[in-house]
């Protein structure tokens, strides 16, 4: 059915993951792989840019849960940014804003990383 793609851009030790399309149970492994690669390469400071993400299902949210512990153990974080209202609402319902820092823009998220360095 729907497509999902990720791409990664590095800003120094911070990596931005761009999410695009529909993130559901079928496409979640794609994002898992992207995160795995980053973490295997020692990239623990991750910003997820949701600008082009149309939909996220519970399985998609699960991907963020799966890696957050490992990332935070290594003094890193996954910060979420640029969500549209629909996607934000899904995160919000589950209470993700209590667990993750969610920013309006990618830059704000990167800035937050820089500040806490």
């Amino acid at each position: 059915m729907a497509e999902f793609n990720t791409s990664v851009k590095d800003h120094g030790e911070i990596s931005t993951v761009y999410l695009e399309g529909y993130l559901d149970a079928h496409t979640a492994p794609n994002l898992e792989e992207t995160f795995s690669k980053l973490i295997n390469n020692g990239k623990y400071k991750i910003v997820a840019n949701f600008k082009d993400l149309a939909y996220i299902s519970s399985a998609g949210l699960g991907v963020f849960m799966a890696f957050i512990e490992k990332v935070r153990e290594n003094d890193g974080d996954i910060k979420l940014s640029a969500m549209n209202d629909k996607v934000y609402n899904i995160f919000d319902l589950l209470g993700f804003p209590l667990l993750y820092e969610i920013f309006k823009t990618e830059d704000e998220a990167i800035k937050k990383f820089d500040e806490t360095k």
């Binding site: 519970s58 849960m65 209470g95 209590l98």
Partner: protein
């Protein structure tokens, strides 16, 4: 049943009839033989034409019926050229021995009394004649089999005509006494010889023999040719044989001679044909081998389904087809490439060579077999075997490259055109069979998944309440529509006491069997907790603690738990990350959305600290709507959501109806909206309506129309 019985009966009939026919042939032969026996041994017939004619007729009929009987016996087996040739040779030799050694044997037995007046002599003559008859019949039929070997059906006429002329010739020998009519016999004789020559002209079965068999045939034909000549000479002179056999039946002796001539001509032709075939025998052998392995391969396509077995067979066959020493298959693996189905070479060596060849073909897209010389291969010394060259062939199906077949030849050997063509042909077949095996594996996997989902749906159906509880104060309706891939929705009602009833609605993250199992766990947790704890908040906190040991780090559960108190007329509610509970009251809707993290998102204090519990008073006709995101996220063909707003609008429009009517109208709208798309997620919709109490309550409640909610409404 009837049909089968009928066919069985027909087959039995057919067998039976065949047996009868065969028996008739045997019986007529036996009867004729007995008659002959009586004539030849007990009655010495007067030497007149009539009696001679009768005697000859009986002999000929006996021979014909014997031939028919033997023909049936022979056609039961599939003939083999060499064994037929050997057969003829042996029978020929038997005749040779009978001719040359029977006279001394008879002399030894009977001494000087070897005379036709002696009974014993006549008996021996009869047996002798019969041995010859059986031998020549077999020879004749073997010739017939040889003639039909590797020929079309149309040529039967040639042979049958020849047989007919043989019979005519035999019959005409009766006219021997009339010198003036000898031209009849001569004519038949000449025609018979002519037909023999024609029928011996083309011996097509030689072409299909292997080189070894051809040499064997060549030697055999020389020996048999000599035997035939010897027998022909033996049967035409005046000796013991001719005395007995001509006495028995002059016609048969003529037939014997004719058959010997046939043998001489046939084996003469056979000798020369074989001689000419020998130089090309090797090429033919090779072609034959190729064809037979191709046949073997096409059989494999339907037989070998397991991928590993298939690749192993492919390398094995490519070895025999190309005459290579080692072979293996390269497939695209997870990271780089895999070398599989390795034959006659070490794994490391195969890998080293693979790297070398793949490097060579990196920039060229090879379409068919390519050969690489290993002269310049710097790592050649590292390889245990001394290989001179390797071939690589792409394995393609539907224009997708599935891998490569590699073969390697040792020093001193090379690939010629034939080898390359053979490998190419094999790879075409191999690609098809690999693709078949892949498709089969895919469909097995799909079937397995479907079975798994089936099971998941069964689990879900058992977990969800079969019917809604009866309640004096609540009008309850629920609709649950599972998605094909089980979405993990769950709801339940717990009747705590006469005056208290609780409900839970939950959505497990993920899909399929794993979601179904978590659902089952959740059901158990809430069922047991609801018996001991009343507070929705405490229940959710406890449930979260229990789930810590059940959920892995990427799974979580959204849930909402509520408790109706019929005496206090209140609803206590806590929400753990679930969709808001909607309250329809006075033609308005309110999202009841107390804060709370989803179960399994945090196992520490944060969950407890952020979880909020609300208590609200119940008003008559208060309608509580519990749902999962399958409702609002139902999608149409354009992948648009049904939407929260749309959903609420329908609820409001139907708010004054009974709970079941409300839910039905929502579902109707959803199915209308998403009619051109599949259902991706479970749809759960539970509606609880606070009914009018039987005794009229005070008007107080009506005045207090503003809901006192401790909720965050966004």
């Amino acid at each position: 049943m009837g049909y089968i019985e009928y066919s069985i009966r027909t087959i039995m009939d057919l067998n039976f009839r065949q047996n009868i026919v065969r028996n008739i042939k045997l019986q007529s032969f036996l009867v004729l033989s007995v008659v002959l026996f009586l004539i030849k041994i007990f009655f010495v017939l007067p030497d007149t034409f009539t009696f001679k004619f009768i005697s000859e007729l009986v002999v000929i009929l006996a021979v014909i019926s014997l031939n028919f009987y033997l023909l049936d016996l022979m056609t039961d087996k599939s003939p083999n050229a060499i064994s037929l040739v050997i057969n003829i040779g042996i029978l020929d030799a038997v005749i040779f021995f009978l001719m040359n050694f029977s006279s001394s044997l008879v002399n030894l037995l009977l001494g000087s009394s070897a005379d036709s007046s002696n009974f014993l002599y006549r008996l021996i003559s009869f047996i002798y004649s019969y041995l010859i008859i059986i031998s020549i019949s077999f020879i004749f039929l073997s010739f017939r089999e040889l003639y039909f070997l590797k020929r079309g059906k149309r040529v039967t006429t040639y042979f049958n005509t020849m047989t007919a002329f043989f019979v005519l010739f035999l019959l005409s020998t009766v006219l021997n006494d009339f010198k003036s009519l000898s031209y009849i016999k001569d004519t038949f004789y000449v025609i018979s010889i002519l037909l023999i020559a024609i029928n011996s002209a083309k011996i097509s079965w030689i072409a299909f023999l292997s080189k070894r068999d051809k040499i064997k045939t060549l030697l055999l034909s020389v020996v048999i040719e000599i035997l035939f000549v010897a027998d022909l000479i033996g049967s035409s002179g005046t000796n013991f044989h001719s005395r007995i056999f001509i006495n028995f039946s002059p016609a048969l002796n003529e037939f014997l001679q004719l058959l010997m001539i046939y043998g001489i001509i046939y084996f003469g032709v056979l000798f020369f044909t074989t001689l000419f075939h020998i130089p090309t025998a090797e090429a033919f052998d090779r072609k034959q081998k190729e064809v037979s392995s191709l046949q073997y391969f096409s059989k494999l396509i339907t037989q070998v389904l397991d991928f590993n077995d298939l690749t192993t067979t492919i390398t094995e066959i490519s070895l025999s087809a190309s005459g290579a020493n080692s072979a293996w298959i390269i497939t695209e693996g997870e990271k780089e490439f895999d070398t599989i189905a390795i034959k006659n070479i070490g794994f490391v060596d195969a890998k080293t060579l693979t790297e070398y060849i793949l490097e060579k073909i990196k920039d060229v897209k090879i379409k068919s077999t390519s050969i690489f010389n290993l002269k310049d291969f710097e790592k050649k010394e590292n390889i245990a075997e001394k290989f001179s060259s390797v071939s690589i062939t792409p394995l393609k199906s539907h224009n997708y490259l599935r891998g490569f077949l590699v073969t390697a030849k040792k020093e001193g050997l090379g690939y010629d055109e034939e080898d390359i063509r053979a490998i190419d042909t094999f790879c075409d077949y191999a690609s098809v069979s690999i693709e078949n095996s892949r498709l089969l594996e895919e469909s097995i996997e799909k079937e397995r998944l479907e079975k798994e989902l089936d099971l998941a749906r069964q689990i879900q159906r058992k977990i969800i309440p079969a019917k809604n509880p009866e309640s004096k104060r609540l009008d309850i309706s629920s609709i649950f529509i599972p998605a094909f891939e089980v979405g993990g929705d769950y709801y339940d009602f717990f009747e705590i006491s006469e005056s208290k009833m609780a409900f839970v609605i939950a959505d497990v993250s993920g899909k399929g069997i794993s979601a179904a199992f978590i659902m089952a766990e959740i059901k158990g947790i809430f069922e047991s907790l609801s018996k001991t704890i009343e507070s929705p908040k405490e229940i959710l906190i406890k449930a979260n603690q229990i789930l810590k040991g059940i959920l892995d780090n990427k799974n979580f559960v959204s849930a909402a738990y509520g408790l109706f108190d019929f005496t206090k007329k209140t609803l206590m509610l806590a929400r753990a990350g679930h969709c808001p509970i909607l309250l329809l009251r006075n033609n308005e809707y309110v999202d009841i959305r107390p804060s709370g993290l989803g179960l399994g998102l945090d196992y520490g204090n944060r969950f407890r600290e952020t979880l909020e519990e609300v208590t609200m008073d119940l008003h008559e006709n208060d309608t509580f709507v519990l749902y999962t995101d399958g409702v609002s996220e139902a999608k149409n063909a354009e992948m648009e959501d049904f939407g929260e707003r749309h959903f609420r609008k329908i609820l409001l429009n139907n708010a004054n109806k009974e709970s079941s009517e409300i839910s039905n109208s929502v579902i109707k709208e959803i199915s209308l909206f998403s009619r051109n798309n599949q259902q991706y997620d479970d749809i759960t919709l539970v509606i609880l309506k606070w009914k009018k109490e039987n005794k009229i309550d005070g008007e107080k409640e009506w005045q207090n129309s503003t809901p006192r909610l401790k909720t965050t409404v966004k």
